[in-house]
Amino acid sequence: MGLFDFLKGPSPEQLARRAEAERRRADILNALAQGVVPNGVRTRLEGARNRTLPWTATLTPAELLIARSHGLKPIAAVAASCWLHYGWSWTEGHAEGWGMALRRLRDEAIAAGANAVLDVKMRTIPLRIDTSMDYTLIGTAVYVEGLPPSKEPIVATVPALEFVRLLEADVVPTGIAIGAHYEWLMPGTWGSDPNMRWMGNIESRQFSDLWNTVRDRAHQQLRVHARSQGNGVLAHLNFSQMFEDEDPNNRERKRYLARHIVVATTVDAKRGVPLSHGITPVVDIHAGATPLKPAGRHHESYSNESEGAI
């Protein structure tokens, strides 16, 4: 690379690369608008499925081992994103954003001719752009030897080891359910300040009630969303925040916002059937944290930081 390269015009090779990039960009934008998988992605997935391209998997070798011993074969790492501007409602945005990403992930799994997507992780790209946020799901599409491709592949937010463990117990992880709810508390006039000015012990009923309502509704929504995918959920994560704010119509008054988000893995499980599971209890003499327990979090989208509108 020369010092004055920037003075030269682009080379034919550079022009070809730019044109290629433009085509890819147009393809992706068009696919998002149509609600289909971009052609570039489709080519990559089909290549991995019919083995003209190397397969790719987010699985660790131990997971590959157990996947292989159970007849599961990896196809490709799949990923889906939805970048949402939550100017209207931050809380509801989470249900919308994850929901959209989930739909796109399923579409990619179908394009890959998969039976399931394993090891699905929830991610947020660490770019802070105004009041918007990215919802990304990354996982590995797999097929079961001898099974035809599924019309509705299952999406499992558990690592492959746990997926197999659940399958052996006749439990099928099916997808992700989300419940999100927020509510404003606007205290009335004199005497109803939810912040206690009293010196003794007393419950702040207004805040208690606020939280009860918000959490109730969020869990209700979770149940409704879960029912469309399975008959149960395994709790995944809970996230809640509360803010104090000025009433825009009356600066003298305070108002309070509470919001709660629940995200969980839905499962389809036979109820009331006893489990036959050959588990050997062991004492682990490993020093420090036991490697038998998974360490990493399966999501990195929620912390205790507060952000954004509602």
């Binding site: 690379m1 990039a21 890819r24 960009r25 992706i28 934008l29 998002l32 608008a33 971009p38 570039g40 990559r44 083995r51 391209l53 190397p54 397969w55 790719t56 998997a57 987010t58 660790t60 070798p61 131990a62 590959l64 081992l65 157990i66 292989r68 011993s69 790492a77 990923a79 994103s81 939805c82 970048w83 949402l84 501007h85 100017g87 209207w88 509801e92 945005g93 919308e96 954003g97 959209m100 660490p126 770019l127 802070r128 752009i129 105004d130 918007s132 990215d134 990304t136 030897e145 463990r165 588990i279 050997t280 209890p281 062991v282 004492v283 490993h286 036991t290 038998l292 327990k293 509108a309």
Partner: protein, 271 residues
């Protein structure tokens, strides 16, 4: 590359290779479990291999309102990693290793110059106990892999062997948009498709490049793929998508599922 290794380093490496002799010493960053499992898999560690590259990353600005790959930065990240990896591999070749396991690839920023990045590749060189050369990469050099000792053992037992650590990088500029706050009044949340498509493109390019490297290494698949995003002191709208994994090939012939021993399920009763 091998000829670049200083004389004293060669001396040190020779000493390591003679680990079978009483005068030789092997070095590794293995934990006890890793050490035992690598040996159980039929390999012996011979020495830590290190490759370093301090790289001046060029300057490139994205057009303010345009989604685009910053290819000068992509190339820099790629080239610098490649240099660090190939130097590590040259050390391994010099000590006669059949492969390198547990490779850690890290990037550090140098405090006094925002354009200088330090790339470090470090891993443990291993040789096959029976002198089997079949484990080497397609070019006859040592295989590379970011797998830990435990993972290495598991991989061999699932019927695969590591070939090469493969990666793909794409540094991307996400377009700016004005007037976002105007959306708050339209009564619903809106997807910013421009941003979504930027994520798709950057990630796809990174995965494709990784897959291309795997195909070039004549691998069958890539295991342990990690796709992550990082920013190394760049502008706020610039981000690197990085895909990395270990390309693998079946051992001689792929093992049928029923021939793979079923792992025993255990439950730790430790608290």
């Amino acid at each position: 590359m091998a000829s670049d290794i200083p004389v004293h380093a060669k001396e040190r490496l020779k000493g390591l290779r003679s680990s079978a002799h009483s005068t030789g010493v092997f070095t590794s960053d293995f934990s006890v479990n890793e050490f035992l499992l690598v040996r159980k898999a039929g390999f012996e560690p011979i020495g830590l291999c290190v490759g370093t590259c301090v790289y001046h990353v060029g300057i490139q600005y994205g057009a303010w309102s345009k989604n685009q790959e910053l290819d000068v930065l992509s190339k820099a990240m790629y080239h610098a990693r490649e240099l660090a990896m190939s130097r590590m591999r040259a050390e391994a070749t010099a000590m006669g290793a059949d492969g390198i396991v547990g490779v850690k690839l890290t990037i550090k920023r140098l405090e006094w110059d925002e354009h200088l990045l330090e790339f470090i590749a470090i891993g443990t060189g291993v040789v096959h106990g029976d002198g089997q050369k079949g484990f080497r990469a397609h070019d006859g050099g040592p295989f590379t892999s970011d797998l830990s000792g435990q993972d290495f053992w598991s991989l061999l037992h699932s019927g695969y062997r590591p070939v090469e650590m493969v990666m793909g990088s794409c540094v991307y500029h996400v377009a700016h948009r004005g007037m976002l706050s105007g959306f708050s009044n339209i009564g619903r949340n809106v997807e910013l498709e421009n941003f979504t498509s930027a994520m798709y493109e950057a990630r796809e390019v990174a995965i494709e490049r990784m897959q291309f490297e795997a195909a070039a290494a004549k691998a069958e698949g890539v295991v342990g793929v990690d796709i992550h995003e990082g920013s190394y002191g760049w502008h706020t709208h610039v981000i690197e998508f990085f895909a990395i994994g270990t390309a693998v090939l079946p051992l001689g012939e792929e093992i049928a599922p029923d021939k793979i021993a079923d792992p025993i399920m255990v439950l730790s009763v430790n608290d």
